[in-house]
């Protein structure tokens, strides 16, 4: 059998994006390759469970610092699985979405879709700082083009602002790498962590890198680009953006803080600042989400709020002697549950707009009466966002609460609980609209079967995956 090579995870989606340009057989290529890539990511997840040490692979046979290293460990395997699941269901959704609406954009959508998939896989596998820069650039540019896909003025303006900010962030990130390279002359993360243990200069490089990653993952002061960008594009695109594209920068930030940088006092204060930003993001994001009148902007602001959770966790690592695996588990599960739930909600909002032709919440069709599967999708993914039990979101919150109480961070635990209450405040209007039997809400226009099923399965998976979190997190626990 051909030996398992991490390169397949990157090359396969790339080739899929090229072949999907051949117009006659586009849909079959899309279906075939998305299934294939999904199976590949599941295999790589299972691979991390089987083999205990993380799998390193030097591209071209050149060991670092010369060559680029790919690393598949528990955490990256887990995220590859997440990407695989969300992308597969978004692909199924888009197959029927683009032959019903936005036919013209459908031609190029698949190229961007598979290219995004390749970029995400490349990001979570890569272990080399400059390679992460190029992968980040791939993600941002694809995201910008996806935002501009519908073509009307609001989308173009949102994507332009998004593009400017992401180019600025990339340049800052590159500046950070240049400073690190000037001091330590090394680009691979594992070598860097060995070199960093004695000296102090990395603080300077850390500043631009943290700002860059904060901008890219829409942490509070830099979150203004996200709501217009994620709400003005087509449903499958905003599902991909909100659930997958803004997670890698947060993941990289956490990995840098935990694995590469040594544990020292000055970093602790900076991590406190990050967690304050995270807490503010939760409150302000939820506050705006509750006030939104259209469903997509509500979901976009809810993404800003949910991203706040990820940054609260950073200072936890610096207190006490807890293992970094515990923090990574809580982080990974929060990302996983938010990704699936948010993707399912965006797809359902796509169904709502397809039926009602309007984005406002008050015009959202009463799904509870007319379209049961979309209703179940919204119902289960809403429960996951709130963090009701049995859902992965609940287990993530539980793990985080347990950690914060063990370390005496009662404030953080309190914020997390308050956050889930706020989440129920902005999920509730969606449920209420689904149920209301106001005469304007009855649409008998059927939604294509595939669109409903994929949204429902994503939501149901997000909800029921709480039961198998023990199995899911095994890889990470091993480190």
């Amino acid at each position: 059998m051909i030996s398992f090579d991490l390169g397949y995870l990157i090359v396969l989606p790339l080739l899929a994006s090229i072949f999907s340009l051949i117009s006659p057989i586009r849909v079959y290529i899309a279906l075939a390759f998305s299934l294939l890539s999904f199976l590949l990511s599941v295999y790589s997840f299972l691979y991390t469970l089987r083999d205990n040490t993380p799998l390193y692979q030097w591209i071209g046979g050149w060991t670092p610092p010369l060559g680029i290293g790919l690393r598949l460990d528990g955490l990256s395997g887990f995220f590859l699985l997440m990407i695989g699941i969300v992308s597969l269901f978004v692909a199924l959704y888009s197959i029927s979405f683009f032959n019903v609406e936005y036919k013209r954009q459908g031609r190029f959508f698949w190229f961007f879709f598979f290219f995004l998939w390749a970029g995400l896989n490349a990001f979570f596998l890569s272990e080399d700082l400059f390679n992460l820069y190029v992968a980040l650039e791939v993600l941002s540019l694809t995201a910008v083009i996806l935002v501009a896909l519908p073509g009307y003025k609001k989308a173009i303006k949102a994507s332009l602002n998004y593009l400017f900010l992401s180019i600025l962030a990339s340049m800052f990130y590159l500046l950070g790498i240049a400073m690190l390279y000037a001091n330590y002359g090394v680009l691979s993360m594992s070598l860097l962590s060995q070199k960093l243990s004695d000296t102090q200069e990395f603080i300077y490089a850390l500043f631009p890198i943290t700002i860059a990653l904060a901008i890219k993952s829409a942490l509070l002061p830099f979150h203004f680009w996200l709501p217009p960008a994620h709400s003005s594009t087509v449903a499958p695109a905003s599902a991909l953006l909100s659930s997958l594209v803004i997670k890698p920068p947060a993941y990289l930030m956490l990995r840098l803080w935990m694995e590469v940088l040594p544990k020292d006092k000055s970093l602790e204060y900076l991590s406190i600042v990050l967690s304050i930003m995270g807490a503010l993001a939760i409150f302000i994001g939820s506050y705006y989400a509750i006030r939104q009148k259209t469903i997509k902007r509500l979901l976009a602001y809810s993404t800003v709020a949910q991203m706040g959770y990820l940054f609260i966790m950073v200072p936890l690592y610096y207190h006490g002697e807890i293992l970094k695996e515990a923090v990574l588990q809580a982080f990974a599960l929060q990302v996983f549950s938010h990704a699936l739930a948010k993707a399912s909600m965006f797809l359902s909002s796509g169904n709502a707009i397809y039926v009602a032709k309007r984005d406002e919440l008050s015009y959202m069709p009463g799904f509870a009466h007319s379209h049961p599967f979309t209703f179940f999708a919204l119902f289960f993914s809403g429960a996951t966002l709130i963090g009701l039990p049995l859902s992965a979101g609940f287990v993530a919150k539980f793990l985080f609460l347990e950690l914060s109480i063990k370390l005496g961070f009662f404030l953080h635990g309190g914020i997390m609980l308050l956050g889930s209450l706020l989440a129920s405040l902005y999920v509730y209007p969606i449920w209420k609209e689904c149920f209301s039997s106001h005469p304007t809400k009855f649409y008998d226009k059927p939604i294509p079967q595939l669109m409903e099923i994929s949204a429902f399965l994503l939501g149901f998976l997000a909800f029921s995956s709480g039961m198998i979190t023990g199995f899911l997190l095994e890889g990470i626990a091993r480190g």
Binding site: G151, K153, F164, I167, A178
Partner: protein
């Protein structure tokens, strides 16, 4: 002489950052971003020169090459978006 280029790079980054935040129209912001990029690349290339081997370190050169190409692609997309916006306004 190395320190002169380092300072030059930093100054380029600083003024372009200032003008990026201050500028209101899209073209000026695009130019500011490109100059910021050139500043960062200058920083990289000066680090390449800052070695004790007689010919400079080729790795930053390759990185900057990739960086420039990526920056050009991003600018191309930005230009097309701005043109789309100007077309809409007329």
């Amino acid at each position: 002489m190395i320190w002169f280029y380092y300072i030059l790079a930093i100054l380029l980054v600083i003024i372009s950052l200032y003008h990026f935040i201050v500028a209101r129209n899209y073209v000026k912001r695009l130019i500011a971003l490109n100059i910021l990029g050139s500043g960062v690349f200058l920083f990289f290339i000066t680090t390449a020169k800052n070695t004790n081997t007689e010919s400079p370190d080729p790795v930053p050169h390759a990185l900057v090459l990739t960086g420039i190409v990526v920056a050009v692609s991003a600018t191309a997309i930005a230009v097309s978006l701005i043109l789309h916006l100007n077309k809409e306004e007329e």
